[in-house]
Amino acid sequence: MARMKFLCDAERCIECNGCVTACKQENEVPWGVNRRRVVTLNDGVPGEKSISVACMHCSDAPCMAVCPVDCFYRTEEGVVLHDKDVCIGCGYCFYACPFGAPQFPQAGAFGMRGKMDKCTFCAGGPEADNSKEEFAKYGSNRLSQGKLPACVEMCSTKALLGGDGDVVADIFRDRALKRGKGAEVWGWSTAYGKPDKQQAPKGAKS
């Protein structure tokens, strides 16, 4: 059985936020909730890296472990989903998740948390496949339509990979073998200068 996984290739991500927009559009995610975000490390410094982050559908999910009402479940493909009818909005999953995936609606009155919302790998929820109820609560169920998550298919540089974990791993392995790493990467000297001349001389104007 295929196991669904996301993998973001930091060498390719150009921080365009296309994945974030695709997710918002596809699932009609409410205001204040971001199922996917692009995080930039060392922003503004040459060699900065961006990674697209959402629920990683962990094999040993901490959110599942801490949920007091046991609203999480894992599908046969390893996608971690939750039942909004069972969720009590306690926020334990929010504190347990190392990726900041669980989100809570911000539009409620008096700081009310409401039901948790997170990336579903575009696999909907416990309602009937592609029903109105499922779309309203969890968004699109592309997996049952024979497609992959909208963010993955939208990515223009194919930095964000997703789908069968074995295939994704093979694709990434091939890339890493072809391009090398660090200064061996194709185009590195064009973008950042030669490795030994990376730092501009003092007093130079950019």
Partner: protein, 66 residues
């Protein structure tokens, strides 16, 4: 003698009450068992068609290899 009779009737009464309450409890348990079935139904409800390596998906994998 009459005291003994009164004690006996009280015991009978208590025994009857005890037996009937036990039977009642058994009936409640028996009726609760079928109520546990919806949990199994909820498990089925969570079953989805899921992932399939369709032509669309294989095309995506092909483009990601570029």
């Amino acid at each position: 003698m009459s005291e003994n009779k009164a004690k006996l009737s009280r015991r009978n009464f208590l025994l009857t009450v005890g037996a009937s309450s036990a039977a009642g409890a058994a009936a409640v348990v028996a009726s609760a068992v079928p109520r546990a079935q919806p949990v199994v139904v909820a498990g089925d409800k969570r079953r989805s068609k899921g992932y399939e390596a369709t032509a669309h998906v294989r095309n995506y994998y092909r483009t990601a290899k570029v």
